[in-house]
Symmetry: C2
Subunit: 307 residues, 2 copies
């Protein structure tokens, strides 16, 4: 038998992230067995039939038995109760981690529930699609993506190293930072974009003189790009906004101030101000391409000339 | 010699749209010769060397001589002066059209400049990429995209039919509507999305505690999708906001109201309200996929598992 990084991995929640971790872990051959838990009967049956898990359980506590690594892949609003329910069943020396998009609240919700001898390494893989459910997962989801770890002062460095190695085996680049800084960075790079995307779709839906059919028909002009992320899982995103309230409200306040500035420029016909703002925006885009975080292809038209 | 739809096509402006029209027209073999005008010396040389035009001119007036179809492909802010400069050189019976993203202002800017015997058929192909310049054009840009025509009461139906046939030969679907309705529809499906995209990039740039390098590094969480359209041509977009001021301000006002509602839900922890809004947004996305205006692929992660 080959040596595995972990004998048993327990995945709590078998949606897009849980299923993708399973497929990536199997592909990298770094765990011997995978147990899974999900409250949804259909999800459990699907996960088992797809071979995502060796054993599947309704209750998280039954899945974590003997597990060396437990990863919480449920919406962050469920973390406190899940952590509480598994705490007495965790193996001594086990590592508990997660994939939550908010980290300060996760530390507060999970840490106090865990007994002595359990290592807690909060993690956030910056990867996802607008799809949900166990059939939406794929092994390459984490390839070349960043995974942020936010260990606390109490986290042992060996546990951090172990979780780092795990995510690297899954294809990710790993970065360590504080939970507070993570939450601020993600508020601007992920949470605010999702909020705005949901909001513009809502605004379009409210219009009296333009039908949804028309909005859909002419969505190639830019609107379409927003609907993609507005199709993300509503429960997951509700929890993110509830749990990262302060950082999101700060970014939202700044966004609104800047938007008011642009609105004034439009109202008073200040073309120079608009040009200055628009021209500067181009530079960040160039930085993203240079950093390899997006392809320099003219994808906006999603035309057939490139594939 | 085969029969062509037009003997001579004149393209005023040889950027992304002008160059793509040239390539698509050549591919469909519907014009005998193409003349082009651009104020930029390098653009003129590039257009000529790429074979986009048979003759190239600094002044629009020189390009329109003997042309059966003249298409204005410059930013809408230049329309009035360009129309004025070409009016005395237009062939009797020529059709003047355009690709402007705003239509009410274009009618007001162009119509009064044109002499008797010239047919004016305002057009807007809903197609584009975030790239600019003559080397960014490609023949397939208009394939399966909508082109909206906004003829006035004075426009002869034969001229509308002729421009309709031209865009269909280029691969587009054609829809006729009033200029006012066009401007309202595009304000929500294109102009507001671009404004918001520019704005969020601006907000990110203003942050003191997060560097642009960090924003770029973690942009895969959603931000990246916004920078794509925020990389669009700043002059073109400045002109659009100046020229479609009323409709954009109306949409912006509605957007801000809806955003305030969401902001309150976050501040007061109203998860039910958020869930309700987010859940509804999913449906418009499904409509876009059903209407064939986007592919149902999990493109958000832009991962290598699908290509």
């Amino acid at each position: 038998m080959s040596i595995k990084q972990f004998e048993k991995l327990a995945l709590i929640g078998l949606g897009l992230l849980g299923s993708s971790i399973s497929l990536a872990a199997r592909k990298s051959n770094c765990v011997r067995m995978i147990s899974g838990a999900d409250h949804n009967t259909t999800t459990r049956a699907t996960a088992l039939s797809l071979g995502l898990v060796d054993t599947v359980h309704e209750h998280p506590a039954d899945a974590v038995e003997d597990a060396d690594l437990v990863i919480l892949c449920v919406p962050v609003g469920c973390f406190r109760s899940v952590a509480k329910s598994i705490s007495s069943r965790l193996k001594v020396g086990a590592i508990v981690s997660d994939v939550g998009s908010v980290k300060s609240s996760v530390v507060m919700d999970v840490m106090p529930q865990l007994p002595e001898g359990i290592h807690f390494v909060p993690a956030h893989p910056i990867a996802g699609t607008e799809r949900s459910g166990p059939e939406s997962g794929f092994a390459a989801l984490f390839d070349g993506k960043w995974c942020i770890l936010t260990p606390t002062d109490a986290t042992e460095s060996a546990a951090v190293a172990s979780v780092t190695a795990f995510w690297q085996l899954l294809g990710s680049n790993v970065q360590v930072m504080s939970a507070a800084h993570h939450d601020l960075v993600l508020a601007i790079t992920s949470h605010l974009p999702h909020l705005i995307a949901y909001n513009i779709v809502t605004t379009a839906d409210h219009l009296e003189r333009i039908s949804n059919a028309e909005v859909i028909k002419y969505s190639a002009g830019g609107f379409r790009d927003f609907t993609r992320i507005a199709a993300s899982d509503p429960t997951m995103w509700r929890d993110i906004f509830l749990k990262n309230k302060e950082a999101v409200l700060e970014m939202l306040g700044r966004f609104t101030e800047d938007l008011t500035d642009l609105q004034r420029a439009i109202r008073y016909g200040d073309g120079d101000r608009m040009f200055q703002i628009f021209n500067k925006s181009r530079k960040i885009r160039q930085g993203i391409i240079a950093a390899g975080q997006d392809a320099d292809v003219a994808d906006f038209g999603r035309s057939s000339h490139q594939s």
